[in-house]
Structure formats: C-alpha cells, structure tokens
C-alpha cells in the first residue's frame, strides 16, 4: 500500500480531491525548494558596466531568480530593461539595467547604464540585491 501525506486547501476534502492546485502540500508533488537565498547590500556601481557575483559552488547551473533595489526605491526583476533611478544632485534621472547569469560556480549580477544626457557613466550609486537559488539544474 502506498501512503501519502497531503494537506488540502480550506474548503476542500483532502480525501476526494485530485487537482494538485487544491492542495497546500501533497507528497506526490515535489516542492520547489529554495537551496540558498541571500542579499548583497550596499553594492557600489561605479564602473560601466559592472559585474558582481555570488559563489554558490554547486557544481551545476542552478535555477535562480533575483531582484534589485535601485536608489529610487523601485525593486525590479532581473531582465533586459533599463530602469530609471535618481542619482544626481539635481534629482534628474539616470538609467541602469540589471540582469543575471549563472554558471556552475557563481551567480553574476550585471549592471550597465544607458545614455545619460549624452555623457558617459554618470557616477557611482548603490544597489541592494536579493537572490534565490532553487533546487535542481535548469
């Protein structure tokens, strides 16, 4: 006989339901475990581009997900877009991008800055990063 451990959502009969979405937990369905999570706080972005990293040493490329808080307070997902953030003394906007990569030993946090009123890198600013590493390889 096969035993299972299951917790249904409120209002659902754990003995009769079969839809995985009706369960809070079901031992037949794997959970997406967070192996590691952490923060890189007060990181200075002072070059153009800038690369930061976290060593995970897993020996394989893991599932990962990350967020970045720019100086204007917005918390964004890693991706291809430039985000506006306020860094200049005159409160004018600058634009920075945040993306992530991974290999079998590290997570990489990549920053770049797009045009700044026709000039090059506008100056340093700080960011806070939150990363998650999930079980299994991609």
């Amino acid at each position: 006989m096969t035993y299972i451990v299951a917790v249904s959502k409120a209002g659902k009969n754990v003995l009769t339901i079969t839809d995985p979405n009706d369960f809070i937990f079901h031992s037949s369905y794997n959970t997406f475990k967070i192996i590691t999570e952490g923060k890189l706080l007060n990181q200075t972005i002072n070059t153009h581009p800038k690369e930061l990293s976290f060593t995970h040493s897993l020996g394989y490329v893991p599932n990962f997900y990350g967020f970045c808080k720019f100086p204007d307070g917005k918390i964004v997902l890693a991706g291809p877009l430039a985000h506006d953030y306020t860094i200049q003394p005159n409160s004018s906007n600058g634009y920075g991008s945040f993306s992530m990569e991974a290999d079998s030993s590290k997570l990489y946090f990549l920053f770049d800055d797009v045009s700044w009123l026709g000039s090059s890198f506008p100056g340093s600013y700080t960011v806070n990063i939150k990363y998650y590493i999930f079980e299994a390889t991609i």
Binding site: N30, F67, G73, P80, L81
Partner: protein
C-alpha cells in the same frame, strides 16, 4: 537535538539521502508561499502619448506611449513576485516579464517592479498612430516571501 521533517522521493531512503533534489519536502529548505494571483487589463489610449517626433527616414511621425498600472498587495514589505504579459490571445501565449522587443523602428517593453504596497507594470512602446486604443493583459503572482530589501 534538532528535529526535521522530510519526505523523500520514491526509492530514496529518507534517513540517508542528503541531496536536496532527493526530497519532496525538507523542513531545512524554505519554499515559496502563495499570497495572491490575478490579472489586469491596461488600456492604452494612443492619443495620450508623451512624446512625438517626425522620422525623415520612415517619413512618418512616431508617437511614444507609456502606461503604468498597479495592483495593491498591502503586505507592508516587498514580496517575491512574478509577472507575465499576454502576447497572443489565441492560442494563449504569455511571456514572463520583464520583456523588451525592438526592430528597426518599433519597440515595446513590459516592465514590472514593486514596493511595500503595490506591484507596478510599466508598458512602453512607440507607434505610427496617435488615435485608437489597445488593451494589454497582464498577469501576476505574489508570494508571501519577503525580499527583505
């Protein structure tokens, strides 16, 4: 003594395995907890562009639009979140955000960000028209896990 709760995958000995991937559940590893999910439609009025310019190369006026919509989560902290945009209604096709697409003159971007009270979607694009409207359907998932940022 530290107690744990663990459920191993089939054929794995829960008492001896140590690889996190061999467990269905292990109390030493956190998981994402659902908070809310939903969708919203951002209606974009093409006449509400914020900038326009005439392109000598294309011989047309190009209009730039930006639309921001938000959904409240009221968690009091910034949660783990994810967003998607419907790129095709039939067959239903969604793309995870942020997303950016551009060709020789056209671009569209779908961005998502959060603070301690809301999730925000930012839709930006350019167009050769300043009339009419379009609807963009956006989906979100919010988890209870705090980013701690």
């Amino acid at each position: 003594m530290t107690y744990i709760m663990a459920i191993s995958k089939a054929t794995k000995n829960v008492l001896t395995v140590t690889n996190p991937n061999d467990f269905i559940f292990h109390s030493s590893y956190n998981t994402l907890k659902y908070d809310t999910q939903g969708s919203m439609v951002a209606t974009i009025d093409f006449s509400n562009y914020y900038y326009s310019e005439y392109s000598d190369f294309f011989g047309i006026t190009i209009y730039y639009n930006r639309k921001v919509v938000s959904v409240s989560h009221n968690l009091g902290y910034v949660p783990y979140f994810a967003g998607y945009v419907v790129r095709s209604a039939s067959p239903l096709t969604m793309v995870q955000l942020p997303l950016e697409f551009a060709d020789a003159w056209y671009f569209v971007s779908y961005n998502i960000y959060a603070d301690s009270s809301k999730i925000y979607f930012v839709v930006m694009f350019n167009s050769s028209t300043n009339s009419g409207s379009d609807n963009v359907t956006l989906y979100y998932r919010i988890f209870k896990n705090s980013l701690g940022l």
